[in-house]
């Protein structure tokens, strides 16, 4: 085998491995219990979900988008001695095997300028972008307000 065909063979094997790795990582991100707390008539809302990185590689959730809001951002809430501070986070790191829960009072997806007319039970499609696993989609169902009417 000459050097050129050796290189080609290596490249082919490398590519095949790389593709398998990407697919495996993609298959190993699980998104569960996606729901959204929408205050009807308000411009902003929050979406919550559980993200599990089932792969053996660390990953990172870097962005969220939805067609139902003008902007979606990853935010965290910090309780600084009773003072609640909401801050933009650049991304959420996921260790191998780790589950991160976005939940009230902590990490959440902030939805800005939400499309009016959403009702409890409607769904908000969310597109999550991961550094390694790529793009994943999930539907967040709109919660019923605590006081039904």
């Amino acid at each position: 085998m000459n050097t050129l065909s050796m290189r080609a063979a290596f490249a082919a094997v490398f590519l095949a491995l790389a593709c398998t790795a990407t697919q495996a990582a993609d298959a190993n991100i699980t998104l569960q219990d996606a729901h959204a707390q929408i205050v009807f008539g308000a411009k902003v809302g929050a979406a919550y979900l559980r993200v599990t990185n089932g792969s053996t590689e660390p990953d990172r959730l870097v962005a969220v988008s939805t067609p139902m809001a003008s902007k979606a951002e990853l935010h965290s809430v910090i309780d600084d001695n009773g003072v609640m501070k909401m801050r933009l986070v650049e991304g959420i790191a996921l260790k191998p095997g780790e589950t991160v829960e976005l939940k009230p009072g902590g990490l959440h997806v902030m939805l800005m300028d939400i499309q009016p007319g959403l009702k409890p039970g409607d769904t908000i499609p969310l597109t999550l972008t991961f550094e390694k696993a790529g793009v994943k989609s999930v539907s967040a169902s709109v919660d019923k307000p605590a006081h039904g009417h």
Partner: protein, 198 residues
């Protein structure tokens, strides 16, 4: 008993009596400790604000009922809806005793939280919640009375508000009784309020 030991014993006894005397003297002559309290008097006080129907209200309007007061803002997707959901759940949990309780939501973002914005926002929660806004000066006065911290923080091309997330329980005379941190469950809150309502 050998003599040296007896002498040691005697000296020890004398020293003990002196020490006891000194302790007693100190006890009776020491100045009484200064009692300082930062409790009841410092949280709460007069305010004049505007409710979700556009009516001017003062703190006096709520005398005779307990007040559960929370400061927040409507461009708040997480902490504030959670607190207002909790307030709604507390009312449900209290049942008929909820007649004695007036939940109040005061904005710290008067710039965006007009009467209309407040009215639409609280329509999502228990209708017994009173939502109050006002001029920046009126809001500053109310927040100062309740020792609430709030600050406008730029975020991207928009802004958010840092704010104290504590719920304050005031008695029917408007005096501070207790507070609840944001992570208190509605069931816990209702149980503690029920005890105080008597």
């Amino acid at each position: 008993m050998p003599r040296p030991f007896a002498r040691v014993l005697a000296v020890t006894a004398v020293l003990a009596i002196i020490a006891a005397g000194a302790a007693l003297w100190t006890f009776f002559n020491a100045p009484s400790p200064q009692v300082t309290s930062s409790g009841t008097a410092s949280v709460g006080g007069p305010f004049t604000l505007v409710d979700q129907q556009g009516r001017t209200v003062t703190d006096e309007a709520f005398r005779g009922r307990w007040m559960l007061v929370f400061f927040g803002f409507t461009h708040c997707p997480d902490v504030c809806p959670t607190a207002l959901n909790d307030m709604s759940a507390v009312l449900t949990e209290l049942g008929t005793a909820s007649d004695k309780l007036q939940p109040i939501f005061i904005t710290v973002d008067p710039e965006r939280d007009t009467v209309d914005a407040m009215s639409q926002y609280v329509a999502n929660f228990d209708p017994r919640i009173v939502a109050l806004t006002g001029t920046p000066e009126q809001i500053a006065q109310a927040a100062k009375a309740y020792r609430v911290y709030y600050k406008k923080v730029p975020q991207g091309d928009d802004y958010t508000m840092d704010h104290t997330g504590i719920l304050y329980l005031m008695d029917p005379q408007g005096r501070f009784m207790t507070h609840f941190t944001p992570n208190t469950t509605p069931a816990d809150m209702a149980a503690r309020i029920r005890k105080l309502l008597g």
